[in-house]
Symmetry: C2
Subunit: 416 residues, 2 copies
């Protein structure tokens, strides 16, 4: 799919994603930019499907984001309608002016005509090069044929159709219990660069047959975004197209639940978080050029938010990331990165661990630390860095990858 070699951090296989009752879909080769591969996906949720969404905070959003935000709100009025999601890869349709708006409207109109539903509730996402207009006719020309092929299976094909520089397709699935009713969750995602909160630069779609109102879905999604997609970073750059949608068809039936804090959602919450985190971490593991997966645990900060910011400062530091790429247990750069971010921290209370090895504490290298232990630990593929700030109870976990020659290779010639 990608012209780059599959990431060495990739999962061995794409998981088996079962059909989800109430949804069907199709993919196509629209030829937006790529040739010889699919680049278009349409997902349809049956009438009554509820939808929640989180979008990029980048101030320069693409036309699809502007449209989809409105569509999310408009959806309130069309709850009994079919819900459509249209995603193309190859062009992001960002910074494309009036032409961009027109392309989105054409796509939505064409989709509603072909697949049913209201034009102004169609969710649209485009991913790829910024600044090049999308020829919507290439997309809409596929709809009639796709409508004939709509099928309840095809999640793996969908995950492949939305890829750009991804080196593997990303999916996750789980089964949850809501008051004795078994529901299934499927998720797919794409993303490998321009990945940083808020929110992590990517597209992700999670569908379930649970019967939950949009307000509950939105609350769950917004809450869980923080510890999943907003806790990953590849390169500190935030895309103009980030989209995370959660759709619930209601086909599994079950009790009416009107509050996200309802205790009957305990298992569903846990499984939804699992799926979101799994997808988020798969994006990190496909980080452009990544050779190491890095988990950063921050404890003892003045607040959880402060811990989160310290974690991201570490995760985005080019010097920390290159040291790890070089398998160099260069904890001095960790000290630097904690210090540079402006969050409350005290040199003489800071402690640092690589895995279980205490490297530094009380403003100095730990007496027990041996360079050879650090050096050996850094040879691992998955690295856990822990810093304790020693000031309070704030905690956060952040995930990233190393910065390597591969990142430069990919990004110095992306458009060529």
């Amino acid at each position: 799919m990608s012209k780059y070699k599959k990431s060495r951090l990739a999962p061995e296989t794409f998981p088996s994603l079962p059909p989800i009752a109430g949804f069907d879909m199709a993919v196509a080769e629209a030829g937006v930019r790529y040739t010889g591969r699919t680049d278009l996906w349409v997902l349809r949720g049956q009438a009554g499907t509820a939808l929640a969404g989180v979008y990029t905070k980048n101030n320069m959003p693409g036309a699809p984001i502007v449209w989809s935000r409105k569509a999310l709100v408009a959806g309130n009025k069309y709850e009994r309608d079919v819900q459509l999601v249209v995603v193309n890869s190859g062009t992001a349709n960002v910074f494309t002016g009036e032409a961009g708006k027109k392309a989105v409207l054409e796509t939505a109109s064409g989709a509603a005509a072909a697949f049913g539903g209201a034009v102004n509730t169609v969710q649209i996402a485009s991913t790829g090069v910024i600044g090049e207009p999308l020829d919507a006719s290439k997309v809409t020309a596929q709809f009639s044929d796709m409508n004939k092929r709509m099928d309840s299976g095809g999640w793996a094909e969908a995950a492949r159709a939305i890829m750009t520089t991804d080196t593997y397709a990303k999916g996750a699935t789980a089964v949850a219990d809501i008051a004795g009713v078994k529901v299934t969750l499927n998720g797919i995602a794409k993303g490998s660069g321009m990945i940083a909160p808020d929110m992590a630069t990517m597209l992700a779609y999670v569908a379930t047959d649970a019967s939950l109102p949009r307000e509950v879905l939105q609350e769950l999604l917004s809450e869980m975004t923080k510890t999943t997609f907003n806790s990953i970073t590849v390169d500190s750059d935030t895309s103009t197209s980030d989209t995370l949608l959660l759709l619930a068809s209601g086909a599994a039936g079950g009790p009416e639940i009107e509050d996200a804090s309802d205790p009957r959602l305990k298992d569903f919450r846990a499984k939804l978080h699992d799926v979101l985190l799994d997808l988020a971490l798969q994006i990190v593991r496909d980080g452009e050029g990544a050779t190491k997966f890095i988990q950063i645990n921050v404890t003892g900060a003045q607040s959880d938010d402060s811990a989160h910011r310290i974690g991201l400062a570490l995760a985005n530091s080019p010097l920390v990331k290159t040291a790890i790429a070089g398998e160099d247990a260069n904890w001095g750069r960790i000290v630097m990165a904690v210090g540079k971010c402006g969050e409350p921290a005290d040199r003489d209370k800071l402690s640092i661990r690589f895995g279980d090895h205490v490297v530094a504490k009380n403003g100095f290298v730990a007496a027990s630390y041996k360079e050879v232990d650090g050096a050996n630990y850094m040879k691992r593929q998955d690295i856990v860095l822990s810093v304790d700030i020693g000031l309070g109870l704030g905690e956060a976990v952040v995930y990233t990858c190393d910065l390597t020659h591969g990142y430069i290779d990919i990004n110095a010639d992306y458009r060529s």
Copy 2:
């Protein structure tokens, strides 16, 4: 000096720096970490030398920074004394606990004993690896011999002694007129990585024979840091050891000036700014792995501070920096970086230029823009990127370099 090839962006030669009346100096091979090169510099200003300083804002400052900040204040009480500056390369003496404090005190005591002056006004800086203690005896062992060799010349040798990963020595000189009195300014600097505000990660020393009180020097230095050393970035990482000192021996004599806004300082201000900016840009031109020098002009922002932050977001974006490394006129990434930093901006008012080529305006690619013009422009060694936000009168200029394989090479094996 460095094991890396001289930066292709380097000035052709080191400028000829004349002696400055009232100062003498020496360098030595103390063997702190390096062998076969100098790694120690002592600068002495005659009795009455005034001093101003700006230090890193990193929360994890090294022992030399903690000491030197106090020494700057203590200097108020010892204005009639000799002023000493001691700089070593090889070890940063950062995160070295009690041992670090002890090393600093030993160095200051040894210096005052050998070269004169008060112990607690000695300015000390160390640059190199973080987390390794400094063996102060290696430094102090050199002082007696250095004292015999103290000389008014030697600025080029000093610039070389303080280098770490620098691929060339950095110096600048200027002559200014203060009310008919000719004064000279010399500056030297080191730095090529862990370079970001505040302040740009580096050591820089400027000496002049002008007769100016420390309050005036401090005001000038603090004011000019913003548009020089705080407007450069190589990798967004801020060192724990940044130091910028301005020393004035008073040997040139001249009128008593007590106010930094005195109109008689007009020429001195301009020349001091020239020297500071020249040194700052030499650091960017030696940015680790740099192949392109990038000037970013931001206009039309809501305030100067906002423009500065937008400029830095562009200058620190890995995707912008790798695109330039790849000579790719990928203006979409510029849109992304303006949008991601959270500063007020409006997609439909943004315009972007590469040199004189208008690339994008009004939320779309400019009708007059030809890809071939952008592609040709990107082949230049010095690139000027201009973005106009279209909202207000805020302006800033920021300087950086591209992100290349060379950066990874240097930083993935710095300690090896």
